[in-house]
Amino acid sequence: MKAVKIIACLLLASIQLSAVAQVTPERLLNAEDEPENWLLYGGDYDSHRHSDLTQINKSNVDQLELKWVWQNRARDGASEKFEATPLVVDGVMYTVGAPNNVVAIDPVSGRLFWQYSYTPLPEARLCCGRVNRGLAIHGNDLFMGTIDGKLLKLDARNGEPVWLVDVADPELGYALTLAPLIIGDKVIVGPAGGEYGIRGFIAAYDVESGEQLWKFNTVPGPGEPGFESWEDPEQEAWKIGGGSIWQTGSYDPELNLTYWGVGNPGPDWNGDSRPGDNLYTESVVALNPDTGEIVWHYQFTPHDEMDYDATQAAVLVDMEWQGEERKVILWANRNGVFYVIDRESGEFLLGEPFVSVNWLSGFDENGRPIRALYPTEEGTFIMPNNQGATNWYPPSYSPVTELFYMPAWLDTFSVYTKRPVEYTPGQQYVGAFPTMAMPALGVNPVNQRLPEEGLGAILAINPQTGEVVWRHMMTNVTDSGVLSTGSNLVFAGGREGHFYGLDAETGKELWKASLGGQIANGPMSYAIDGKQYVAIAAGAGLFVFGLPE
């Protein structure tokens, strides 16, 4: 009888345990205190992508061995770019393969707990592949944006859908490709679609009900601040002005501000129909997450006509700046410039090119770029190329080395030619695609290019000066994110399919694995039962490495 009572108590305890929310807002606020887990897309709210785990270190990284591979096979058989960074939560890995195939995986064996294949509407239209960059978790629920413009809530325990809400109309080119951001009891997303004449926004939804709580228009309308930067006399351009969102924002709980990068204005390569600076495209915006109100902004590329989306991760760092402790954002922009910005006020502190650039000649006293070149009808040679000196590929910041690590496309160029463009709902609204020596998205299995047509590199940048401290060169460009670790390692890869372990202080290659498919996502690290693992996707597969038993 006593044994029966004990079993009953244990059962009750386990039932009560399961009713307790797994990932509370407090756990997310202190994600860096749980290095064995990876609770947010960027590792923590600062988007540092830095792991404090140290078991894998400089002396043993060359012993890393493959532990398991998971190959994504979505329901329709598609195997497209794998851009997601997994989450690892209390012994379970969650990730997304293209297009919206969610899985829960045993992070030790690679075996599935469950799989949920969301089938997007055929109306979904994307400029650049049916991709997804990851999930968010709150309580026992996962959140995923879908490429057909919806936000999906799933039960993390069995993969069953809880609700699906419409965020924006896929037939007009709106798509969700980013990993959502949880702040408190809100889940925050924004749409891709800058090539379809969307009007972008950032919106917060109630994690329980799916109700929209606020919406910030990244292209302001009449009466909204910033509308004066859309100067066409007809006042029509803003309605289809772009301003997409496709990289997850960061969050400073002390300032209670969330930071998001905004994409290109539409049409991309001919701005004649949209005179003015075209706020808040190509900007970082600081929003109050309670209300969605804008507190400040900084525009990296006013009146952009080169498609230099400012859709990079905002890396939040507290550091001494010219003798004063400052809360800053480190931002390596697609336009080829590394920025340091005060994240309390939006003040421009530093702008230093990290590759060859010729579109600007410097900055004025307010930190506004001085434009040197514009697309013309004859064609203008502009560096960097249309795909950018970097892009959404998430960088890393190590509090140990105090260096910023990023993927870069070195010394690329495009010829930008201005051609007439008209808007038709649901169709691409871009202008003439700039010429490039480097494939923008596709990966040719052979590389016969000349070095002057562009190379790839992982860079280490000193945030105090913008100086490049070291370069790890690659003969092909890279769409890989970067991970740094507490043992002074940096992990990253590239289109060639090599995955590297580098010395964080020197860039020296300490280990590599050839994975046979392009790396287009951010590596991450986790630990189970005291054993550290490193995960990276390449091609359609997710690869996990660890030390020998």
């Binding site: 058989g77 169709q427 695609f433 490039m436 923008a440 998205l441 016969q448 060639e496």
Partner: protein
Amino acid sequence: MNRFFRSVLGLIPCTLLAFSGAVFAQEHSYAPSDIENGRGLFQANCLGCHGDNGDQVEGADLSSGRFRRASTDEELIRLIREGIPNTLMIPKTNLSYGDTRAIVAFLRSLPTGGALVADNRDVRIGDASRGESLFFSEQTQCSACHGVNGGGNLLSPDLANIGATRTPGSLEDSMLDPAKEVRAGQRFYQVTDMSGNRTEGLLLNQDTHSLQLLNGEEKLAAFQKSELDSHGFIPSPMPSYLDVLSPAEVADLVAYMLSLKGDQ
């Protein structure tokens, strides 16, 4: 019916078949406005993947004017709108039938069936039969390296389809100033190992750590960069004919090249 007449009659069905094939592949004539509209739509929707020359996607060289998965215009339209499963060629559902037809019009309009970037230079085009004689002559020795449906060597491009993929201007450049533009896939490379042994060949592929060549003996050869003393691109062995051929002879060769359009 004499023997001559019978043989001519015997040719008629074959000739009709050949013509019907050509007509079938390009059954529409397009208005200039369609073509211009198609050019813009192509640049907006296709260039990102297919590249400026239309040859960026392995196995789908749009500049060749030939399409593996589609022969008729309707098949091309369907392919563009429905995409190709399991590839990055996603359905272009955003394009209307008319827009897709305009893209096809643009692709079909290209003067040699290829070369997406218009080359409007005034290039002298001579006599193709004289050009053919020159091509196979001792004077030029073109055929010592280049094959036309066979012949030549493996290090030099076979020219059987060159008339469908190149403009007159680029053909003239290739003969007079071959270093002006050496295309990817035709670039030569040299490696020197630690013992000083040199190998030259056609660069097939490279990554950060290794090189894959077709060497001078037409054998596949791979090298680890870490085991080499030096390596790098070298000039193409294609000589300039600027001081070898007269302008009229160059024009004849251009005409012959333009006549080589594979099995279209």
